[in-house]
Amino acid sequence: MALKLPPFKVPALASPFSSSRMAPGSRSAFSAAQCTSSSSSAALREGERPAPADLSLGHLTRPDFPILHQEVNGSKLVYLDSAATSQKPTAVLKTMQDYYERYNSNVHRGIHYLSAKATDEYELARKKVSNFINASEPREIVFTRNATEAINLVAYSWGLTNLKPGDEIITTVVEHHSAIVPWQIVAQKTGALLKFVGLDQDDLVDVGQLREMFSKKTKLVVVHHVSNVLASKLPIEDIVIWAHEVGAKVLVDACQSVPHMAVDVQAIDADFLVASSHKMVGPTGIGFLHGKIELLSEMPPFLGGGEMISDVFLDHSTYAEPPSRFEAGTPAIAEAIGLGAAVDYLSGIGMEKIHEYEVELANYLYGRLESVPSIRIYGPKPSESITRSALCSFNVKNIHPTDIATFLDQQHGVAIRSGHHCAQPLHGHLGISASARASLYFYNTREDVDNFIEALTDTITFFNSFK
């Protein structure tokens, strides 16, 4: 006679990250005993709970994200659109609520307690971001509305002042629209020339072509760190060296790298680097520009108004020093403080740990997706020498990606993105009008990938049955 054992009870696991507020500069306080870098490999029987040691980073962090625990259209939500925007942990939400409940006040000019407290927290957030990317000092961090505004700041402030007719701006066909359009506008105003680097046979930016484009006319290089479509990573440190050899400045779009790996701006040595809060578990409405202080000090204002001035007369004004010079008007105070909380949260996990987990997740996603019939995945195949970020843009033969995304959402509760992902030139280069994209973050699990593949297979079967 078989002995029936009582169900194995696992005590409720409180996330180690939910209320952490790590000291600036702290990168990894995550205990190796609490998770493995490998996702759970053993299949669980019904009613069986995984032992803590088997839990992946995704399983451990999911309790911190209340939005992930819901049903959409009758199915459990599987959120695979973090490259568009990430979800926010309770710690970030509570921090912002705490600001509005306890010390909401305008910053920098107030005398009273609330204003002083708000100013302290706002500037502390700046310091946290500075430490997070290893900037030389907090003055090199300019808070903007998002990375797009940060790029526009460089374009209108540095670009209009320093670019002349005949100067060349080198960029790639892979760039996000926000890294292309501002430079088209500035190039038109200044007479500078915008030059684009294409792809090689492996769907990677042709770095050789990029290097050959450098000349004495090159004044600026605008490149992504990690592509939001191809999942590929550029050798940024090398590009910066080549650019500086010809006297050119470099602006790095780090929107898809800062949230997912340790980024050291001093090691990269780029002149400008931009990122958005909402892609790194922070709130929308805030982003930042990192600029070398000697560059920022020479740049004229971007937007004029309060906060960014020193003295105002009727016929002229003098301006504040960076970063205030570039932060006109009342800033997004709660959002900046929320970004600081996001930095704390990520630092509590450790960016190396996050990256290690996501590389594994990326490989798993690619491997499972690759096995789907009639699919084409864009970007390089992962290998020993090529690491992909945890996203896959793809197309299925004869089925429009929007149809796929619609059915995945309506029938299976799986959230992916379809369209051009703000990379129309890249899609044109690939010969397509649109693609579907599944993008993961550290709160996703292998089970999410499995659910996605199962749903995708069902979706393809459904649409093929109508042909």
Partner: protein, 249 residues
């Protein structure tokens, strides 16, 4: 013929007439909509519903095989469509219905697949060809629409919009609001930037306005608002200056 009972009839080569053997009740509703193709290519299933007047001894409805005035206004056809989609509770049922309508969308000429016919803002590629049919015996010119897309679901949306608005008067086209199409949405709100409904409808309305004004050739008859309103405001201001009216313009 009783209302609401699906009736299979041969696909008309030119026109289709219906005769009621007795005076239908005031509440009789006859809906005419494109149904699913069943059987051979020349058979089309119709559910018929038509509002009729008690005073008529018989009702003749003439239906062309391509245009479907059938006495239904665009607003009434929209009601029919909304009712149909509201009855489909499951998302898979709505997708299936849209795919069926996509399959019966009339062919789109390659020559019309030009940049000027592209509907901007959609995540899919959508082409919209707009024409104006001159005054008919029933009075007034009518709008003609053809559409196509590289997405099957979007084609289904377009097919529904075409059925509602192809052959409608310009005023009817302009009267449709994006919110009216809400029940057909597949998860997107009508005013979303990437909502096909919204973008195609807006494109239909913009081009209708332009064509109608061009055909009428008279700004005073711009019944769609902007120019007439501007002129009225100017007149009002002039009157105010002359001391006849206080105006805030």
């Amino acid at each position: 013929m009783a209302s609401g009972i699906p009736t299979e009839i041969p696909c008309p080569s030119s026109s289709l007439r219906f005769r009621f053997s007795s005076i239908p009740s005031r509440d009789t509703r006859v809906f005419l909509r494109p149904g699913e193709y069943g059987g051979g290519p020349k058979r089309i299933r119709l559910n018929l519903s038509l509002k009729v007047s008690r005073r008529r001894a018989s009702v003749w409805q003439t239906l062309q095989s391509s245009t479907v005035p059938c006495g239904l206004s665009a607003a009434e056809k929209l009601d029919v469509l909304v009712s149909e989609f509201r009855a489909l509770t499951g998302p898979i049922d709505r997708v299936k219905r849209l795919l069926h309508y996509a399959a019966i969308l009339p062919d789109f000429e390659e020559s019309a697949r030009v940049h000027s016919n592209r509907v901007t803002g959609c995540t899919t590629q959508v082409w919209l060809d707009v024409g104006f049919e001159n005054q008919t015996s029933s009075g007034g010119g009518r709008m003609r629409f053809r559409a196509d897309s590289d997405s099957e679901i979007t084609k289904g949306f377009c097919s529904c919009l075409i059925w509602v608005l192809d052959g409608a008067y310009p005023e009817e086209v302009m009267a449709v609001r994006a919110e009216d199409l809400g029940p057909m949405n597949m998860g997107l709100v009508a005013h979303s930037r990437v909502s096909t409904w919204h973008n195609v409808l807006v494109s239909m309305q913009k081009r209708t306005k332009g064509l109608a004004m061009m055909v009428n050739g008279d700004e005073e008859r711009d019944q769609f608002g902007s120019v007439a309103v501007a002129k009225k405001m100017k007149k009002k201001k002039k009157k105010a200056i002359n001391g006849n009216l206080n105006s805030n313009c």
